[in-house]
Symmetry: C2
Subunit: 138 residues, 2 copies
């Protein structure tokens, strides 16, 4: 029997499968059916509402991205909500992501996606083995 | 009587008051007392666990930032968790932020903070009145 964490990670995996393949139909089905959905794409101002968020994904998914997800951390937020923090690799670019899900009719649906740039490989080869935080903390 | 949304926004305001003033004691008190806290600072790899997250803030809060928060959207995630999506202005830099809170002993405490760069004013003055999304959608 799968735990809630497993189901939450599976939903997160479905999000990245749709994103990687450029599958808008799967992406649309994954987002929650409520107007409080929000999305913070890297470098963009925030999007609010299902129509605005899905319009953004329709543009992004015109072509497969080949995004790869890793380092997932799943955190339950009560019984009906959960969050996955993870890393996205898009070619040479790495992003940190926060994905918030809610249960709708028993299924995990995405309520919020936030992705932001960590680093571009090749631009800072001299310190790519060191965590970025050390540069600010020291 | 204050609604849960008001309380959630008040906690979010306390976070930015501590961040603006460089008040580590207030920041430490605001973070949840559990090991599943996570933090994604702009450009950094992810931090997990209360010690790692608070160590990062101890460094950041060595001086007041003067950060200003605006455009807050509060979303309840059941009764015991909630999220605030907002914009941070740090001088000439604007960031999009996701802040997730949980109730501990009746108080909203921060479980997750994620901030990422939107734009630096002055670097792209020619289109600062246009949403960033249009650049990718068109």
């Amino acid at each position: 029997m799968r735990s809630s964490d497993d189901d939450l990670l599976a939903a997160n995996g479905q999000f990245y499968a749709a994103f990687a393949a450029g599958d808008f139909v799967a992406m649309e089905a994954l987002w929650a059916e409520r107007e409080t959905v929000t999305c913070l794409h890297p470098g963009w101002t925030g999007l609010q509402g299902r129509d605005a968020v899905l319009a953004s994904w329709r543009g992004i998914l015109r072509q497969p991205s080949g995004v790869v997800v890793r380092d997932e951390i799943a955190v339950m937020l009560g019984e009906e909500a959960g969050m996955v923090v993870c890393t996205e690799a898009l070619g040479e670019v790495e992003l940190a992501a926060t994905n918030v899900f809610v249960r709708e009719a028993g299924e995990w649906r995405m309520l919020h996606h936030h992705a932001g740039l960590i680093a571009r490989r090749g631009e800072d080869d001299d310190d790519e083995d060191e965590p970025e935080d050390e540069q600010l903390l020291n």
